[in-house]
Symmetry: C3
Subunit: 270 residues, 3 copies
């Protein structure tokens, strides 16, 4: 049988020794664990970014994976640390809303608060690094078969981010930029299936974008074109082919997106 998988998602960067310390703690408890990096480039303390990132990543993993998330602006305060069992996977994260979308997509199952069961923690708990002192050792013990129900008491409420809802007016859809990816593509919160007719108008923030194309893929328009398409996660995406839409449009997360739909039916997708 394959050795257990523990993934790490943090805002630690790779220039600090914090990720290395977590890997060491995990391997000291369970030397057979396979530690897999999802990202250490979540922007510092950006819980909304972590929320989007996790929702676009966790659902692809198989049963029994243990995912450790350390984006934790509230470390050392009374904020809880959670263990969530969902879709047969394990999530360990601060209770700050970073799991909002992943639990919305996967459906929640059982949540416990990591509390008092110090036998699963490091002997000394710092006030500033619970990733190393609590989450990493708990993940390692889970990978060795510890019972999630022994980690602490069940909780019935947990933090959810308030996320803006997109709106569908039939001939117009409105939403906002949810995420700017590494390429500068703008991933919006507008479902791709809402674009049932060809878009004829696009506004990013206050800025009308008269020149754009509604395409099935980046390559369907000349290099440098502003395009609107359905992203790989099923959301409306605004991109510049082989370019950077965020830079061209000075767009940032949270900026309003409005798309006007014409009367012609949608371009056929391959």
């Amino acid at each position: 049988m394959a050795e257990p998988i523990i993934t790490l998602t943090t805002d630690f960067g790779e220039d600090s020794p914090y990720v290395a310390a977590m890997k060491g703690v995990i391997l000291s408890i369970n030397p057979a664990a396979r530690v897999i990096d999802l990202s250490h480039q979540i922007p510092p303390q950006d819980v909304r970014y972590a929320n989007y990132f996790l929702a676009a990543a966790i659902l692809y993993f198989p049963a029994d994976c243990i995912h450790v998330v350390v984006v934790d602006p509230g470390v050392g305060t009374q904020r809880a640390l959670l263990h969530v069992q969902v879709a047969e996977q394990h999530l360990l994260a601060p209770d700050n809303g970073c799991l909002t979308n992943v639990l919305h997509v996967l459906g929640e199952r059982a949540i416990v608060r990591l509390l008092e069961e110090r036998r699963f923690w490091r002997p000394v708990i710092s006030s500033t690094f619970h990733g190393r002192d609590i989450l990493a050792p708990v993940a390692a013990h889970l990978s060795q078969g510890a019972d999630p129900n022994e980690l602490g008491p069940e909780v019935t409420s947990w933090q959810r981010l308030e996320l803006a809802e997109p709106k569908n007016y039939g001939d117009q859809v409105k939403g906002e930029v949810l995420f700017v990816d590494h390429f500068g593509n703008l991933i919006t919160n507008i479902p791709g299936e809402w674009i049932e007719r060809t878009p004829v108008g696009l506004r990013v923030g206050e800025q009308p974008c008269p020149e754009f194309r509604w395409v099935a893929s980046y390559g369907a328009a000349p290099i440098g074109s502003l395009v609107v398409l359905t992203s790989s996660t099923g959301l409306v995406e605004i991109a510049v082919t082989n370019g950077n839409a965020a830079q061209r449009l000075s767009a940032v997360v949270g900026m309003a997106i409005s798309i006007e739909l014409g009367v012609v039916s949608e371009r056929s997708k391959q």
Copy 2:
């Protein structure tokens, strides 16, 4: 026996969830696969960069490794996806020239186009993320013993980059900057063995560099010196000892390099 190795080389960065999604897809199909990051910092859509990177990396890996490359400006167009079996290794990549040098070095063997054999793909194929939907699952199936010949039809032609050839005039060698590494060292396309006599002149672009030293290693010249040496891949390299040659010389990939050779024979190498 060791578990199968799948490596990833992409331009996705680590701030986007795309690498994580690919890892999840691979592990969902083959939970025993060992996924190894080569780089996710290939500059966006930079096929030439990927080409150099792969040629300097793949040859060190052992037989049976499966290398997945996703630098794919043509995703969603008619560009092919290839499986190449070479030197007992497997390469999975878009047919855009990114394998030009690695196949030149390793010698090509058998190339098939990933086509129609959807049983090795994810059930739904997006138009923008074939790394997740096609290449990752194909890699996972290969790691479980799938037969490469069943992935699709054999192809006899594939994309090659047109790469400038260096020139050897005996008392002068000319080439260009092939790659600027993380340290700002300029790796040229000039073979190190062409420098059979001591260089007496160096020109980077239009710029003559009167002060430089021909050395065997960085440490052979005082800190801050401009040096010319043979890189660890056997090519002529221009560096600043403990400094950044690209910054000092405002040098970029493609810039012309000209080296004049004197009459004295080469410095002895250790």
Copy 3:
């Protein structure tokens, strides 16, 4: 039994093919080795940074791990390459002081110089990449059970960095910035336990910081506050809650830190 672990800490970045080459060399010798990235973002040639990084990372790892460190401004010169066996772990690194603190913390045991035993090296040794040609293959052979004493002769002296000592005057403690982490937190060389009474004065470089709080954790002060606390490694740390202290104070490594202590006893820690 779990497969052997080899960790990598380098200044290579992830945009260059050097890390990939090392992974390939290791796996070619021992395909079962588990290669774990600690960091490839050590600033180029920054031995002091590597020294701090390693001291904050290595002690968390279990026995038998093999740690390869390539921050090596002296590559190709007469500087030695070392194998150190300490706390049942293996360290492979250039003899340039990067192990100063880790050996201070863990206590040294047995150090050999990698010399002449070319059967553990790659067949051809470049002058610029001993990480690939010597350290990686030696690590792989160690992971297969090679005897450290066969790697080369024992050495009795090795390079140590001269590190500034913090000073404790009772009502004042003085030190310097040891490390600036990914969040812009300033980790000083002042032991946290020296702050036995409430700090009433703080000076960073020449700059007095009249507004600051002495807290147990970041979350104990409003967002944007300048705080002084004990870091997760037990040292005094200067931070801005959910912000970047290095940017706000224009602070860099080596900058003097002075803390004046009041007469009131320390705030209770949780």
